[in-house]
C-alpha cells in the first residue's frame, strides 16, 4: 500500500524510549513517529521488545528514559503523563492487547462503556451511547451484537468489541498487538479492510505482526525492532518479505523444503471416533497417520479442532470409536499415559494449557517429565539436573530469557511457545500433535519449528499438524485432510490439492466428491 498521508499531522511521537528489566534492555533509545491516517506495522523477533514499547506508550510501564508525545487534537505535541493508562486513554490512545481484557460475563455494551459511565445507569441513559456505537459500527463495518455476553462471542467478535471500545473513546491512535495471531484468514482480511477505512478517516494505527504477507499488503510504513533497538523505518512500498525477514533477524532466512519421502506403515489410527458436544463435537472421525509423514489438518477454527486435539491429548474421553498406536488399542487414556507412550502435544492455547506462568522456565521445561528418573529420585527433585537440562534446551531452542530461573510469564509470547516446543520435541516422540505451532512466532522461529517438525518426520515420527495457515500446511504436509463441522475428510496427497480446493472444502463445499 502506498502512503497517502505524507504531510498529515503527527499523531504521536516516541522520543528516545529506553526500558530496562534488570540487566535486560527491552527497549534501547527507540524513537518513532506516527502520522494521522497512517498504518504502521511494527516488526521484530520474539522478545525484540514490541509489546514492551506499546505498553510504555499506553502507560502500563514507565520508560527509564525518553518520553511519549501525543497530538492532543490542537495540532501541537504535548508530553503524555508516563505510567497512566488513564491519561493515555484521555489523550486518545486506544490499545487492543495480545490477550483480550474484556469482562467475560458482561455484555459487549457494558464492556465498551466500562470506565466511561456507571453501569448502574438506566438503559435510557445509555441511548446516546448506543446511538454513537451504532453509528461507529455503520461507518467502520465493525458489527457486533451489543447485548451479547462476551463469553458467547467468538475470538474475532471479541476483538471487534475491543476495537469499538477504543473508538468509542474517540481514539486518534489505535494500537493492536498481534491482532491476527488468533484470527482466521478470512477474519484477518475483514480486519484489515476495517483498519483501512478507519485510517482513511484519519486514525493513526500501529499493529504488530509476524505475518509478513499481511504487513506488505496492509501497511504504509514498517518499523523493525531488533534486540530492543529500532533498526529500520521504511515505507512499505520499498520492501518485500525477504528484505523484512532479513531486517528482523539480521540474516537471511532459509525455509526448509520438504523432501519427497516414502511414508512408513500405519502408526496412529483413529476409527469412527465420536467425542465432545456442541459445535466442536467430532462426528465419525477416521484417521490413519503413517510413520514418517506430516498429516495436515486444515479448517476454519471452531469446527472440531479443539475436541480433536483434546482427544489425542488424552483430555477428552471418546464417546465411541477406537484409537490405536502401533496396532495396540489405547483405552482409558489420560494425558499422562499419552505422554508416556510417546505422544507429544503442542497445545493451541499455550498460555492456558502450555505453561504455568508463575513457575520458572526450568520448571516449565521439566513439567511433562517431572516423574521421570532424570528429574527426581525417591520423590525428591534433582534440581541440578533439571537446571542443567533447561540450560541446554534454552540454548538449543534459542529461548530468550534472563535465566532458567525467571518466571515463565515474563517471557515474550513467542518465547513461551518455544518452551513448549522444546520440552515436547526433545523426548523423541513417536507421534507429534502440533496445534497452530507457529502462531505468534517470528519468521526465524517459525522456520525453526518447521525444521524441527520435518526432522521429527524424517526420523520416522508421525506428525499431525493443525493449522489455519494454508501456506504452512501446503509447505509441510505430505497429506492434508479438511475438518468441517466435526467431520474429517479423507486425507489427500498435497500434490493433488491447491489452495482453492482446500478453501472450498474448508467452507463445507465439495466434501462429497472428495470423499
Amino acid at each position: 500500500m502506498t502512503a497517502p498521508v505524507q504531510e498529515a499531522a503527527l499523531a504521536l511521537r516516541l522520543d528516545g524510549i529506553t526500558k530496562r528489566f534488570g540487566a535486560l534492555t527491552a527497549n534501547g533509545d527507540v524513537s518513532l513517529d506516527l502520522r494521522s491516517g497512517e498504518i504502521l506495522a511494527l516488526l521484530g523477533e520474539n522478545g525484540a521488545g514490541k509489546t514492551t514499547l506499546m505498553n510504555i506508550l499506553f502507560g502500563h510501564y514507565v520508560a527509564d528514559e525518553g518520553q511519549v508525545l501525543v497530538n492532543s487534537g490542537n495540532g501541537s505535541l504535548t508530553e503524555l503523563e508516563p505510567g497512566s493508562p488513564h491519561a493515555a486513554l484521555e489523550a486518545g490512545i486506544g490499545m487492543v492487547h495480545q490477550h483480550f481484557t474484556l469482562a467475560e460475563n458482561l455484555s459487549a455494551l457494558d464492556n465498551i462503556l466500562l470506565g466511561t459511565q456507571s453501569l448502574a445507569t438506566l438503559s435510557t441513559a445509555r441511548a446516546p451511547a448506543r446511538a454513537k456505537l451504532e453509528d461507529l459500527m455503520a461507518r467502520s463495518g465493525l458489527t457486533v451484537s451489543l447485548d451479547a455476553r462476551i463469553s458467547q462471542l467468538s475470538v474475532g467478535e471479541k476483538q471487534r468489541v475491543e476495537i469499538l471500545k477504543a473508538l468509542y473513546r474517540d481514539a486518534r491512535v489505535l494500537v493492536l498487538d498481534e491482532p491476527t495471531a488468533v484470527l482466521t484468514p478470512q477474519e484477518s482480511e475483514t480486519l484489515f479492510a476495517t483498519l483501512k477505512t478507519l485510517a482513511d478517516d484519519g486514525l493513526g494505527i500501529i499493529f504488530i505482526s509476524h505475518k509478513l504477507a499481511e504487513v506488505i499488503a496492509s501497511s504504509h510504513r514498517v518499523a523493525v525492532l531488533r534486540g530492543g533497538c529500532k533498526v529500520a523505518d521504511l515505507p512499505t512500498a520499498s520492501c518485500d518479505q525477504r528484505k523484512l525477514a532479513e531486517l528482523m533477524v539480521g540474516h537471511e532466512i532459509v525455509e526448509t523444503i520438504r523432501t519427497e519421502k516414502e511414508a512408513g506403515r500405519s502408526l496412529f489410527v483413529l476409527k469412527r471416533i465420536f467425542a465432545g458436544q456442541g459445535r466442536d463435537a467430532l462426528q465419525d472421525v477416521d484417521l490413519d497417520l503413517k510413520s514418517g509423514e506430516i498429516l495436515g489438518i486444515a479448517g476454519v477454527s471452531g469446527n472440531g479442532q479443539t475436541t480433536f486435539a483434546k482427544v489425542i491429548s488424552g483430555l477428552e474421553p471418546i464417546v465411541s470409536g477406537e484409537m490405536l498406536l502401533e496396532d495396540q488399542p489405547l483405552t482409558h487414556v489420560d494425558a499422562r499415559k499419552m505422554i508416556d507412550i510417546g505422544l507429544a502435544r503442542i497445545p493451541e492455547d499455550r498460555h492456558h494449557d502450555g505453561i504455568v506462568g508463575a513457575m520458572s522456565v526450568s520448571e516449565n521445561l521439566a513439567i511433562e517429565s517431572i516423574r521421570k528418573p532424570e528429574n527426581q529420585s525417591f520423590g525428591l527433585l534433582r534440581f541440578a539436573a533439571i537446571r542443567e537440562r533447561a540450560r541446554s534446551l534454552i540454548k538449543a531452542y534459542d529461548i530468550r530469557c534472563q535465566s532458567e530461573d525467571s518466571p515463565a510469564r515474563l517471557l515474550s509470547g513467542g518465547n513461551i511457545q518455544k518452551i513448549v516446543l522444546a520440552r515436547t520435541l526433545e523426548t523423541m516422540p513417536k507421534v507429534v500433535l502440533a496445534a497452530q505451532p507457529s502462531r505468534g512466532l517470528d519468521v526465524g522461529a517459525t522456520s525453526d519449528v518447521h525444521k524441527r517438525l520435518l526432522a521429527a518426520r524424517d526420523r520416522g515420527a508421525g506428525v499431525i499438524l493443525i493449522s489455519e495457515d494454508l501456506d504452512e500446511l501446503m509447505r509441510l504436509s505430505d497429506r492434508i485432510a479438511v475438518i468441517h463441522r466435526g467431520k474429517l475428510s479423507e486425507a489427500n496427497p498435497t500434490e493433488m490439492l491447491d489452495r482453492s480446493t482446500l478453501g472450498l472444502r474448508m467452507a463445507g463445499h465439495d466434501g462429497e466428491e472428495a470423499a
Binding site: S84, D353, Q376
Partner: protein, 360 residues
C-alpha cells in the same frame, strides 16, 4: 488522584520492611479504639508486651498458644497453595482431638511404649480423612469445597458434643460434658518443668520445615504448585490433578488434626467442646499473613499468639474486654493485605511532581 503501576520482582528486604511497617500501622490503628476505651495507649501496649514476653511463664504461654496456630496455619497454607480452599481446619482439629482421645485413653489397648506415636498418627489420620470427603466431592462432582468444609465444622462440633454427652463421657466427670482423660503414657511430654509448653511445639516446627521442604524440593510439591498456579496446564502436562488435590487435602487435614492432638495430648489431657477458641479459623488468618509461606506461618503464628496472650493479660489488668485482640488481628490482616498492594504496585500521586520525574 492515586494511580497504580505494576512493579517487577521485589527484593526480600523490601518485603520484610513493608511487612514490619504493616504491623506497626495495625498497632497504631488499634490504638484508636483503645484510647476510646479510656486506656493509655502506651500503658496498654506495655502491658501486652509484658503479658506475652515479660516472664518465662508469659513467653512459654505465648509459645503454647502459637503451637496450634502454626499447625492450622500450615493446614490452610498448603491447601491454598493448590487453590483447595480448606476452611474446615476447625472441624479437622476436633476430629484429630477425638481420635487422639480415643486412642490415648487406652480404649484399643496396645503396648504403652507406642502410645504417643499412635495418638499422633490417629489424630493426623482423622483430620486427613475428614478432609477427604470435601476433596472427593470437589474433584468428582465439582462441589464447592468452601461450602462443604465450612459446614463440616458445625457437623463435627455437634458430633463432638453428642459424643461427650454419650459414649465418650467421663463417668468420673461429675456430669460435665468432657471425655475421660488420656493415659499418662499417651500425653506429649512437657518441654519445661512447671510450664504448660509441650512437645506439640516441636511437632509444629518440624511440620513447618517439612511442608517447606515438600513444596520446594519434592515432586509432590512441584505438582501442588503447578496445580495451584494453572490447573489446566498441569492437567495437559500429565500431572495427576485429582490425585494432587486428594493428597493436598489429606496433608492439610492431617496438619489440622495434629493441632487437635497437641491440644488434648499436650495441654488439656481430655476433650471438651470448647477445646479450640477458633484456632481453625485463626489458621486462615495466619496463612494469609504469612503469604502462604510455610516458614512465614511460624512468624505469623507467633505474632498472633503474642497479641492474643498479651491482650488477655492486658484485659485482666485493666478490665477492658480482650475482644481488642480480635480487633488487632483483623487490623493486622487488613494492613498486610494493603501492604501486598504496595509490594505489587508503585503508587503515585497524580499531579504531583513525581509524575514528571521521567521526563527529560
Amino acid at each position: 488522584m492515586i494511580r497504580f503501576e505494576p512493579r517487577g520482582p521485589v527484593p526480600v528486604s523490601r518485603v520484610l520492611s513493608v511487612l514490619v511497617a504493616a504491623a506497626v500501622a495495625a498497632l497504631l490503628l488499634a490504638a484508636i479504639p483503645m484510647a476510646f476505651a479510656g486506656l493509655s495507649v502506651f500503658g496498654a501496649y506495655g502491658l501486652m508486651v509484658k503479658g506475652a514476653f515479660g516472664s518465662m511463664f508469659a513467653f512459654t504461654e505465648m509459645l503454647t498458644r502459637a503451637t496450634p496456630l502454626i499447625l492450622t496455619g500450615l493446614a490452610a497454607a498448603v491447601a491454598f497453595r493448590a487453590k483447595l480452599w480448606n476452611i474446615g481446619a476447625e472441624g479437622q482439629l476436633y476430629a484429630g482431638a477425638m481420635a487422639a482421645v480415643a486412642v490415648g485413653t487406652g480404649a484399643f489397648g496396645g503396648p504403652s511404649l507406642f502410645l504417643i506415636p499412635l495418638v499422633i498418627l490417629a489424630g493426623a489420620l482423622a483430620g486427613g480423612l475428614v478432609m477427604l470427603g470435601p476433596t472427593l466431592l470437589k474433584t468428582r462432582l465439582g462441589v464447592d469445597e468452601v461450602v462443604t468444609t465450612l459446614l463440616l465444622n458445625f457437623i463435627i462440633l455437634l458430633f463432638v458434643q453428642m459424643m461427650l454427652e454419650g459414649p465418650m463421657k467421663d463417668p468420673m466427670g461429675m456430669g460435665w460434658p468432657q471425655s475421660e482423660p488420656i493415659l499418662d503414657e499417651a500425653a506429649l511430654p512437657k518441654l519445661m518443668a512447671r510450664m504448660r509448653i509441650h512437645w506439640g511445639l516441636i511437632i509444629a516446627l518440624v511440620a513447618s520445615l517439612g511442608v517447606y521442604f515438600m513444596l520446594k524440593r519434592t515432586v509432590w510439591g512441584f505438582e501442588i504448585r503447578a496445580v495451584g498456579e494453572n490447573a489446566a496446564a498441569a492437567r495437559h502436562s500429565g500431572i495427576p490433578v485429582t490425585a494432587t488435590f486428594v493428597r493436598v487435602g489429606l496433608i492439610s487435614g492431617a496438619l489440622a488434626g495434629l493441632a487437635g492432638v497437641g491440644e488434648v495430648a499436650g495441654l488439656k489431657g481430655y476433650l471438651t467442646a470448647d477445646l479450640s477458641p477458633g484456632f481453625g479459623y485463626s489458621g486462615i488468618v495466619v496463612a494469609m499473613l504469612a503469604g502462604l509461606s510455610p516458614v512465614g506461618v511460624i512468624i505469623a503464628a507467633l505474632f498472633i499468639a503474642s497479641i492474643f496472650v498479651g491482650a488477655d493479660s492486658m484485659s485482666r489488668a485493666t478490665g477492658v474486654s480482650n475482644y481488642l485482640a480480635d480487633l488487632m488481628v483483623a487490623m493486622s490482616l487488613l494492613c498486610v493485605l494493603v501492604a501486598g498492594l504496595f509490594l505489587r504496585f508503585k503508587i503515585r500521586l497524580v499531579g504531583a511532581p513525581a509524575a514528571k520525574e521521567t521526563a527529560k
